[in-house]
Symmetry: C2
Subunit: 299 residues, 2 copies
């Protein structure tokens, strides 16, 4: 029995000498570029602005960076690392820049609407992707090596129509970047990220609003000065990019609305336990949340 191929070897043989194309060199595009470059996988990148191109070249985000769509011509796989609104309304320029023979993927945080848009606009092969990795950083200086290490990366490949060679190529890319591929339908993805990604943004933002809404000014200032690591952690995602938050909410409105309703019910239960001083039941509820987090995230 021969040993299993390494993901890097698989990626190289699937690409057969063609580069990976990146469209957009923000946090995600830049991070993919840095990691692929470090592993010797050839990359080409299309950026919107001349200034981005210049900075991306300085940072070595890809082997070739250009504002000229022709840069993508020879790519075997193109990953669209664009904001959700630009993914949802691909321009004729973008569509004509993409090589027909290449597999196209993306990194958008909502998958149903992206797949619908691309199924309508793009005659070639497309598999949706979503790396679950984010920081508050954005722009051409945000990309960092190792961003995807150990992170989940959803691939909307559950449709039976996905060719297995395409799946193998994309899975190899994800593995080379150190991420774990999670296969699911676009609908299930959107439902699941409403719970673990989009809901936390609003839950966390509301916490910041509550402190800011404290009408007693000295208490508000005291609260701000006493806020420490726990508050910083709980509010991190609520302090993220507002535009990204609105894009997520508006394109995943139904699942997010459902999650918000369920969350409110759960919080009302806890509020009732506090109001009625049912401490044994509150303790049981907090034991449950402790065990759940242990199981989901680890210690």
């Amino acid at each position: 029995m021969s040993p299993p191929e390494s993901p890097l070897h698989t990626l190289r043989s699937c690409l057969a000498g063609r580069p990976v194309g990146l469209v957009g060199l923000g946090l995600l595009g830049g991070s993919i570029g840095l990691d692929l470059k470090a592993r010797g996988v050839p990359t080409v990148a299309l950026a919107h602005r001349a200034r981005t191109v210049e900075r991306a070249r300085q940072r070595g985000l890809a082997d070739v960076v250009s504002t000229d769509p022709a840069v993508l011509r020879g790519a075997g796989l193109v990953v669209l690392c664009l904001p959700l609104d630009r993914l949802l309304a691909p321009t004729p320029q973008l569509l004509s820049a993409l090589p027909r023979q290449a597999l196209i993927s993306d990194v958008g945080s909502v998958k149903g609407p992206v797949l619908a848009a691309w199924q309508a606009a793009w005659p070639g092969r497309f598999i949706g992707g979503h790396p679950m990795a984010g920081t508050t950083a954005a722009g051409v200086d945000a990309g960092q090596p190792g961003l995807f290490q150990g992170r989940p990366w959803a691939l909307t490949t559950a449709e039976t129509t996905t060719p297995s060679a395409d799946l193998q190529l994309l899975q190899a890319l994800v593995s080379v970047l150190g991420a774990r591929a999670i296969h699911c339908t676009a609908q299930d993805h959107d439902h699941a990220v409403a719970l673990v990604s989009h809901l936390p943004v609003l839950v966390s933002a509301a916490l910041l609003h509550t402190v800011a809404g404290e009408r007693n000014q000295p208490i508000r200032r005291l609260a701000e000065s006493l806020a420490s690591s726990g508050f910083a952690d709980t509010t991190r995602v609520g302090g993220g990019n507002p535009r990204l938050g609105v894009l997520m909410a508006s394109h995943n409105r139904q699942a997010l609305g459902q999650a918000l309703g369920r969350y409110r019910e759960g919080l009302e239960t806890l509020e009732g336990l506090v109001r009625e001083e049912r401490w044994d039941q509150l303790c049981a509820a907090l034991q449950r949340s402790q065990a759940l987090r242990q199981q989901m995230i680890g210690p």
Copy 2:
């Protein structure tokens, strides 16, 4: 003009050769002990169990560790690093172990009830304290060097009855540990921590319950596998020690209840914006939370 004294120098001269006493060697007591030892401040510690004493000696958490209350006899300052329930009901054994000439402080996360209990039970000097530093770790192995570095440490010294020498001693201790002393009344403290410490625990726990309550099992499992750093951060405090959570809630019930009510209103506002697709207003709300976090926590 002579240069200002260093906090370590002030602490040493206030103590005049007497050691700092610690009661309890869990996360907070152990961390205080390690830092004081590293700075050459003599420490003595009282622990409840022989096994804790043995392990504390191995770890070097204090110069002298014992289950014998007499260990505290010569201390100039004693910090009670006990769980809130034990702080609220000091035993006769504990009270008789404390030296009458020493300044007593504590690290309890609620201050009104602690001050009330100690004003009733203790004839000597007492200043309440609360370092805003926590990890999920607990027990004799939890203490770590540098835990308080840069963290706020509330001191309930706003009462005019606090002797300034006592204040100077405690403030020197806090500074030597690298923390920032924040002076406030017990009532203001409890109101403020309801917002930035106790409310986040329930907000975060409810998020875990929402994921766990997803009735569609495959979606629940998918959500669990897609949960990443954002979800981990938002749920950290909700996965903490349940007993501590209940002690905080039960002894700060009124302020927490009020904070929960305000929070629920704030969240309902955001829910309404999503339901009614008022994206500009949602964007403004998220811009506000981004700016608030920047201002409170930094980038």
